[in-house]
Amino acid sequence: MSARTQPAPVVIVGGGLAGLTAAHALRHHGIPFRLFEASDRLAGLARSFRDADGFSHDFGAHFITNRLAAALGMGAECRTVQHYGEVVRLGGEDISYPLGLLGVPRFDLSAAWTRLRDAVRSTASPNDAATWFRHNFGRALADEVALPLLEAWSGQAAERLAPAVGEKLPGGLLETLWLKLAGRLTDRAVAIGYCGALPQSASVWHVYPEHGVGAICARLAEGLDDAVTLGTRVQRIRVEGGRAVSVRVEDDELPVSAVISTAPIHVLPRLVEGTDALERFARFRFRPMILANLNLEGRHLLSDTVVWLPERGFASYRVTEAPISMPWLAPEGKTTLTVDIGCEVGDDWWTASDAAIAARCLEDIAPLVPDAARRHRSHRVLRTPIGYPLFMRDYESDRLRLAIDGTGVDNLLSVGRNGAFDHLLMEDVYCRTLAQVQPLIDELLPAVRAA
């Protein structure tokens, strides 16, 4: 092979935000690639649904930041989210998160007591989520709020989860106070605890693209048609001598110079042949989720955008009224409540009909919206088997190794929310993917320039 021929393409597995971010970066540098998306459309979890009756639905209350919009040249087509707030429902009362919880004396007392005790009795750093929350929040707040939510969300006992679940929570109190205040003053939902890769500030707030959050994927995909193939699953990734050498698509073997996978990490071992370096990821698990979008008459049915439901009486752990933050998602005078149900693939939630799920959810939220059933007009139920990565203690060390050492195959990257196995929101997916792809670009660029 002469030095002048183009190197084999990089193959990108998946056309969600991560795959398209990688594709966009490779195209910028003139590095040849092919992107394969198994489904018949781009965007993956960032897909937006539009119903004929004027309701839009995303996977949850999706929004991005003005900073990500600016990176993509999309600022002018994004609307400012003016307000975003969360409350915790306790004993029939909605307490604002996180500041309102500070005003509850029993939480403060218990937190102060824990601090004092742990200061005197130097304890080992916690190695499960239950201990972590009790240590950091105090027993009362942990046992009444944090741990019940964690368990409903994950379907696991908090003792079996790694402390990293908690470490994801937003930083300092003073900073939070300042950002909340700045949001009030500017009428912008200042992003708090949204993006881990970049600093937060009063100048970074939430926005929503006119044509749905999926528009950011469409934007990244502009001009890439020649390299993107929809409806095509990558069936195999062949590894020889510790390097990915080819992939199988539509029963053809395609030589590659590298592979960037955005497929869920736990399926990657099944795709890869020629090494067992990835076997340790096969036991990583995701929590399947049902998001029941209930379209109702009325607006502002909840006291804030998100209501957390730690009390045992609820089947759901969270209800969201996205139109409180983004009024344009529903026609005037109407709204959508999204009820999140953690479940398992094949259980009776998962297999229930959409109508049955909607009916059960309406009943579940009756304590919040007593006449919900009467207001109900229509619904759209979304199911995803890969709602959230679960940080189980069993495989915590392997998870950390994935973050530090990668997949164990040099030119096989596993990126994106499911590929990196992290609770990443969209701006983080964008930043982290760019950072992860950078060394690959550095490696391939000389050969591409020479060709």
Partner: protein
């Protein structure tokens, strides 16, 4: 002659606001690995509804706009009343007079030691403000020329009887090794490829010729206070890169220049516009922020005093560097010295 550069911008696309934009690698070191530090809009002229992102190169620390308006967008982002095209005595009265005095003093200093028949070129001359000062206060034998790509600026400058090369300095093909002094006053931050522009200027200079670069200083108190969004120096989306002492030194060195003298000087503009941009962004009534514009003596006076305090600490709002073609000067790192 067009200088081929390392830059490989991707084919330009249209922003959501309908402006041709391009994504670029670091204009100084060529790497594409930068951290966003600010997001903002065109608070001053409202030429687009787009928002813009200033990033800092993780390798060389240069600040640059990315993505940025593509060449085809330049007409749209420089409106007819852009200040560099239309700094007219009639409109700016007293301010014009004061500014002329101050600039004349600076220019005379930069021209010190020029021969009787020196040839001087002002790159990015706008409507010819500085050339006119040189014509008035300089020596009669000096041959004064300007370069500017904006047809509006060229027309205004020619109407004033100046000799102008229309186009970018890379395009116009100045005669090689011909000039004793080149000026780039508030120009470097606007050009798409600073290394290519500097290289073109360097070729045009005589072997012992000098280049004076004046540009916004991104190492100031107002930058630290307003740098996440409202800082006046961003001038979204018209400033493509911004420098501090270190990155300006590195840019000069990369273009083959030596730094002979470097300092910071007083300017009220960035601090005043930082405050104005904040007020505009928060929707303050025009009555309030109108006090903070180029034609407001009170605002200019106040912020001049404030910036003078900064300049005394070596943190004035503008960087002034005298570069020499020889390339033997040293590259300065860290802070520039105080003014004078």
């Amino acid at each position: 002659m067009n200088v081929p550069s390392e830059q490989t911008p991707t084919a330009s696309t249209l922003s959501a606001g309908g402006l041709p934009i391009e994504e670029v690698d670091c204009p100084l070191c060529g790497r594409d690995d930068a951290e966003p530090i600010a997001v903002g809009e065109d608070f001053e002229y409202h030429t687009t509804r787009d928002s813009w992102r200033m990033v800092r190169c993780r390798r060389c620390r240069l600040l640059y706009l990315n993505p940025r308006p593509a060449p085809a967008a330049l007409d749209a982002i420089y409106p007819d009343d852009y200040h560099a095209f239309a700094f007219e005595p009639a409109r700016f009265g007293l301010i014009h007079a004061v500014r002329t005095r101050l600039e004349a003093r600076r220019l005379r200093r930069w021209c010190r030691g020029l021969p009787k028949r020196a040839r001087v070129v002002d790159v990015g001359c706008g409507d010819g403000f500085h050339l006119q000062i040189l014509r008035r206060y300089g020596r009669p034998g000096w041959q004064l020329e300007g370069v500017d790509p904006s047809p509006r600026a060229v027309t205004a400058a020619r109407r004033a009887g100046l000799n102008i090369h229309a186009g970018t300095v890379e395009q116009v093909g100045l005669p090689p090794a011909s000039y004793d002094l080149a000026l780039m006053i508030m120009t470097l931050e606007h050009v798409p490829d600073p290394l290519a522009s500097l290289a073109a200027v360097r070729r045009a200079l005589k072997p012992r010729g000098r280049l004076v670069v004046v540009t916004d200083n991104a190492d100031t108190l107002d930058f630290r206070l307003f740098g996440r969004r409202h800082w006046g120096g961003y001038h979204f989306p018209r400033h493509f890169h911004l420098f501090d002492a270190a990155t300006l030194g590195a840019t000069a060195a990369a273009a083959g220049f030596g730094v002979r003298r470097a300092e910071t000087a007083v300017s009220p503009i960035n601090a005043m516009y930082s405050l104005r941009n904040l007020l505009v962004d928060l929707g303050a009534p025009a009555k309030v922020h109108d006090r903070l514009t180029l034609d407001s003596p009170v605002g200019l006076g106040l912020f001049t005093v404030l910036d003078a305090l900064q300049a005394a600490r070596g943190e004035g709002s503008v960087l002034c560097a005298t570069l020499e073609r020889s390339g033997r000067g040293r590259v300065l790192r860290g802070r520039f010295g105080g003014a004078r």
